[in-house]
Structures are given as structure tokens and as C-alpha cells.
Amino acid sequence: MSENKNDILVQVDHLKKYFPVKGLKGPGVQAVEDVSLFIRRGETLGLVGESGCGKTTLGRTILQLHNPTSGKIVYDGETIFEGEDPWQADGEGRMVHVKVPKPQQVNMLPYRRKMQIIFQDPSASLDPRMTVGEIIGEALDIHKLWTSKAERTERIKELLGHVGLNTEHANRYPHEFSGGQQQRVGIARALAVRPEFIVCDEPISALDVSIQSQVVNMLEDMQQEMGLTYLFIAHDLSVVRHISSRIGVMYLGTMVELAESYELNREPLHPYTKTLLSAVPVPDPEVSRSRQRIVLEGDIPSPMNPPTGCRFHTRCPYATEKCKQAVPEFKEYGPDHWAACHLLG
């Protein structure tokens, strides 16, 4: 492992994830379309976008909880997935399935110890018939992270303490906890295997406002202490901006903009980012009275039948003929500021 702080832990190149639809020819739901990104060691990369934009699918595909359709995923210098795209456009713009070599995949078990996930709904992601101690202990058992029973118990206690729960909570069942406490259990479970990289999939959306900030602060503290790297997925832009060093904005499966988080707020380049920023309600009556809001017409199109060219063109106020035909390239427009839009030249 290199000591260079700026080195890259996760790299994703042209990742695609299609979900086939029964009885339908073609690629089905195009949930993640040609996304490239990298995550630096020790940083938090935020992912925002509307529901159905593929942010959760992207997170899960990186962890290979979903099998990627094509693209390349590199974790800590080692390629864990590489595959060619089986869906190619024919002469008339239809997608046809072509034969490609079998994708290269590795055994994920050793990587599962390094890459973990915190789920959105804590009550649905904890087994109701297992005690908290068993839930956390199971992760330790799978990866054989203990030599004696005493060590295992000790580690469970340590983890519970870490997330602000009492050691006697180990014998309780998930339903005995409040939502905020359940989420702490979910975090303790993810931390049990001492991971390096955690995908936080809307970890605070289901929590009360006053509890959200407790969990956010806890995640920040742990990152500091253990040098964790986060991929933080949420739809609440203000929280994402608070916790992330960089933010990626997704729309209908594609990454439309990626920049340093305060830069993104000051100088959004993509029309969709601008809309998203202006749509977030600000808890300040004067600001919300004075600011101009861009209200988008219509709804997000279906990822089963996405628009041609730039996927945002159906709702974009500045769309031109070119946007309808050509897919814009995801390019770097400033230092560490990427965007995909024809208007930017």
C-alpha cells in the first residue's frame, strides 16, 4: 500500500448495468449507463440525483452486489471486474445483443472484508430474529476474524461502544431499538470487518431530523479515526455537500457532473445541477423569498426507454438539436470539475 494520500482506491471505467426485462427484447432497464469515476483514498464521494437515477444501483454494482453488464472496476490497483459491452447499436440505432467474451471476475469474498455497505432502511436490513450481538458477530465469523470466543465478544462490545450503544445492547433484538439506534447497529455491522471502503446508501434518510446530525457526525468521526473511504449516496443535497469532498450528480443512469463539493455549489456547470441546487428548499425565509428557482417541467423519463443523445434533453430548458442526437462527452472543464453537456463546448 502506498503512503501517498492522493492515490486512488476505487476506479470505475465506463460501467454499465442493465436489468433485463422479461418478455422484452433489448437491454431492458438501463439503470447505469457508461459511468466513469474514481474515489481517492480517505475521501468521501457524494452521489446525488432523483429517485430512479441509478445512484443506488451504481453503488451496489461497484460492490458487485449486482453483476455489472460491462465496464471495468479497479479496487486498490486490482481489477475486480472487466467486461465488454454485449449491447451494440446497429445501423438503425437499435440495441442488439452481440457475443462477447465472458467478463473477468474475481472471487469477491476477500474483497467483502474491505468493501462494506450501510443500507438505507435499518429496520429492513437487520434480521429481526437475530440479536444485535449475533448480527455483528456473523460478519466476524464469515471472515474468521477471531481466535477465541472471548476475543469475539470483546470485539462486539468494542464495536457497540464505537457507535454509541451500550454493551448490554448485544443481547437485544433490532425491534427493541429506535430508528437511529438501529442505524447505529447497521454501521457497527459494516465496521466489524475493519473495512477500508464503505458505500453509505442513504444512511440517514429514514431518520428524524434531530438524529440525522448525530449519525452524520459519527460517520465523520469514524472516517477520521479509521481512515475510511466513503461513497455517500443520498438525495438530500445539503447533507451530501456537508459530508463529501466531491459530489457526483446523476441523471437517468448517467453522470452529468462531478466536482469538488463547494465548487459544485458555487459554479454548477450542467443545467441539471443548477436545477437541482435551486430546487432544494433552504431553511432561511429571506433567502427562499429572494432566490430564483428553476422549475423543471415534466417527470424523469423511463430508464427502459431513455431519450436519445443527452438523456436530459427532454427537460432541459437550453436543449438544442445537437443534444437530441449526440451523447455529450464527460470531460474535465476545470481542475477536478467534470461535466457532460454540449453547451459547455
Partner: protein, 357 residues
């Protein structure tokens, strides 16, 4: 377009437009609601009072379980067993709502007061078309109206809430619409009988921010046109800042602070309100600031603490806070707060004034 204008006029008339502005539409006094569960009595709402004028938008904020929805349900008479109003009064346009019989309540609901809910999918009937449901809502209160007339009004209503292709939409089923569209249909259904009061229970919580922005704009527009009163229940302070004229902050069934929206945001005078505002990251922040959370967990409503319910989590709590519920103190025009700190301040002020005389 002409239709829509005509409709606007009707809506104007229905709310007595300008002359009614400034009068009280709804008065709630010391309302108490309890749930009698096998484990004991849960005081979901413990004595709250407020007035709502015509054309006013009041926000009710609070955590889940703070009693904000229960309070609203009791106005519209939708409280279900084991919930019961055990004290206080609700007066709507001078009429006692709690004294109404079942039949009167059915007539009152929908025609005078309408409610829109958080999840439009569970509130629309999946086996009837949108048009069918809108017409049903209208015919329930207006027996005379013909089918054609009802359909016409339903379509006008859909246009008003910004739905295009209304004729096609009338024939569609709820599952064929997107979340934002469904919420628009809910709003149209709520407004079809021209109510004077609209209760919106987290109408945008289940929606994406861009769709939320659309719905908030729509509600603002409709509110301007109709001058109806709106009670807006939410836990999102950003939404409150956006749409409300005044705000009630609830904690554990008590209204801890109430006041004009600017006062609540710029001069909060209850530690819970202060804590809420401090614990949220601001979208317009220029640089990183660590969040200051409210420590502890929300109150267990089965065993609420003695005294001020927020005291166990309050960093400024004093001895008296743990023993007695503080009275309301006026801290500004229409701005009151239930906190012993404010009582103390007021006493000090009085003492000072007395000393000078």
C-alpha cells in the same frame, strides 16, 4: 384557458375572498388527544392552542411521533380508535367541530376542509380511474350536479393543478401516473369542492426535490388565488421557510414554540427550535462547519418525563424544567414560547423595570 379563469373566479368567491381575510378561520384551544393502548395512555397531543386566519399558511414541524399528524386528524375527524379527543375545542368558522354528528362530519369533510396525504399511492383507489375518483369526490357533496357537469369540473381542476392532456388522464388509473402527478391529482381532489381549509400532511416528503419544487410552487399559486387557509405538516424546515407565514413547533405532543416564520428562523426562542436549526447543514453554506446535533433520543410517549418534555435533551435545562411544564411567554408579536428560560428573562425584566420606578 377561459375555463381556468372562470374557475379561479369561483374559487375566489368560495373563500369570500378579500373581506374574510384577517378573520379567524380555525381556532384550536387546549386540544388534548390520547391513545388508550393496552400498555397505557399515550398523550399524543397534550393541550395545544392556535388560530388560523383566512389566507394564512401555518406550518407544523416536529419529529415523527410528536403528534403533528394526530392533531390534524382530529380537526377533520379522522381519528381512529384507540385515539380520542379528551379535552379542548376546535372551532371552524364559528362552529364547534367536536360537537358535530357523524353525518354532519361527513358533509363537513371534503366540502369545508380537505386533506392531502403523504403517500398519494395509498390514498388513490387503484381500481378506479382518476376521473372516476374526482367525480365521486364532487358528487359526494353536490348531489344535484350532473355527470357531464361533474366531469367538466374535474377536468378544469386537473388543468388548474398543472396536468396536461386532461381528457386522457381522466381515463387513466393511478399506477399509470408518476408520483408527482399523483400528488397533483390528490391536490385536485382536495380542492374540487372549494374548501376553506386545506390540511397537507407531508405532501412532498415522498417526492424528489425537483418534483417537490413543482408541488410547492403549485400550492403557493393556488393559495394566492383561493385565499384558503393551509395547515402544512412537515419535518423539513426548508419547506417551511418556503411556504409558511407562521410556524408551530411541536415536541412530544406539546407546542413548544409558535410565531411568524421570520421570528422562528431568525430569533428562535426555544432550545429545541434552536437545536433543530443548528443541526441542519445549509445548502448555501460557503465552507465546512461541523453539525451540532441535539443529543439524546426522542421522548418515549408512554412514559413522558415530568415537566418540560425537552428537558432531558436540553443543554440549558434547569431544576424547574424537570418538574413543571413551563407556561407560554410572549416574546414578540404573535410569537410565544414555552420555556422556563424565557419566564426567567421576563421576571428579570419586570424586576429591572420595577427597580427603576
Amino acid at each position: 384557458m377561459e375555463n381556468v379563469q372562470q374557475h379561479d373566479k369561483k374559487l375566489h368567491d368560495s373563500a369570500h375572498a378579500q373581506d374574510a381575510l384577517g378573520k379567524n378561520l380555525l381556532e384550536v384551544k387546549d386540544l388534548q388527544v390520547s391513545f388508550f393502548t393496552p400498555a397505557g395512555e399515550v398523550k399524543a397531543v397534550g393541550g395545544i392552542s392556535y388560530n388560523l386566519k383566512y389566507g394564512e399558511v401555518m406550518g407544523i414541524v416536529g419529529e415523527s411521533g410528536s403528534g403533528k399528524s394526530v392533531e390534524a386528524y382530529s380537526i377533520i375527524g379522522l381519528l381512529q380508535s384507540p385515539g380520542k379527543v379528551i379535552g379542548g375545542s376546535i372551532t371552524f368558522e364559528g362552529e364547534d367541530v367536536l360537537a358535530k354528528s357523524k353525518e354532519e362530519m361527513i358533509a363537513f369533510r371534503g366540502s369545508k376542509v380537505a386533506m392531502i396525504f403523504q403517500n398519494p399511492m395509498t390514498c388513490l383507489n387503484p381500481v378506479y380511474t382518476i376521473g372516476n375518483q374526482l367525480i365521486e369526490a364532487l358528487k359526494a357533496h353536490d348531489k344535484e350536479v350532473s355527470k357531464e357537469e361533474a366531469a367538466k369540473r374535474a377536468m378544469e381542476m386537473l388543468e388548474l393543478v398543472g396536468i396536461n392532456n386532461v381528457e386522457k388522464r381522466m381515463k387513466q388509473y393511478p399506477h399509470e401516473l408518476s408520483g408527482g402527478m399523483r400528488q397533483r391529482v390528490m391536490i385536485a381532489m382536495g380542492l374540487i369542492c372549494h374548501p376553506q381549509l386545506l390540511i397537507a400532511d407531508e405532501p412532498t416528503t415522498a417526492l424528489d426535490v425537483t418534483i417537490q419544487a413543482q408541488i410547492l410552487e403549485l400550492m403557493k399559486q393556488i393559495q394566492k388565488k383561493t385565499h384558503m387557509g393551509i395547515i402544512f405538516i412537515t419535518h423539513n424546515l426548508g419547506v417551511v421557510a418556503e411556504i409558511c407565514d407562521k410556524v408551530s413547533v411541536m415536541y412530544a405532543g406539546k407546542m413548544v414554540e409558535q410565531g411568524p416564520v421570520d421570528d422562528i428562523f431568525y430569533q428562535p426562542s426555544h432550545p429545541y427550535t434552536e437545536g433543530l436549526l443548528r443541526s441542519m447543514p445549509r445548502v448555501d453554506a460557503e465552507s465546512y462547519e461541523r453539525l451540532i446535533p441535539i443529543e439524546g433520543t426522542p421522548v418515549d410517549m408512554l412514559n413522558p418525563p415530568e415537566g418540560c418534555p425537552f428537558a432531558p435533551r436540553c443543554e440549558k435545562a434547569m431544576k424547574i424544567c424537570l418538574q413543571k411544564m413551563p407556561p407560554y411567554v410572549e416574546v414578540g408579536e404573535g410569537h410565544r414560547s414555552a420555556c422556563w428560560l424565557r419566564v426567567q428573562e421576563q421576571l428579570n425584566k419586570k424586576k429591572e423595570a420595577g427597580g427603576h420606578e
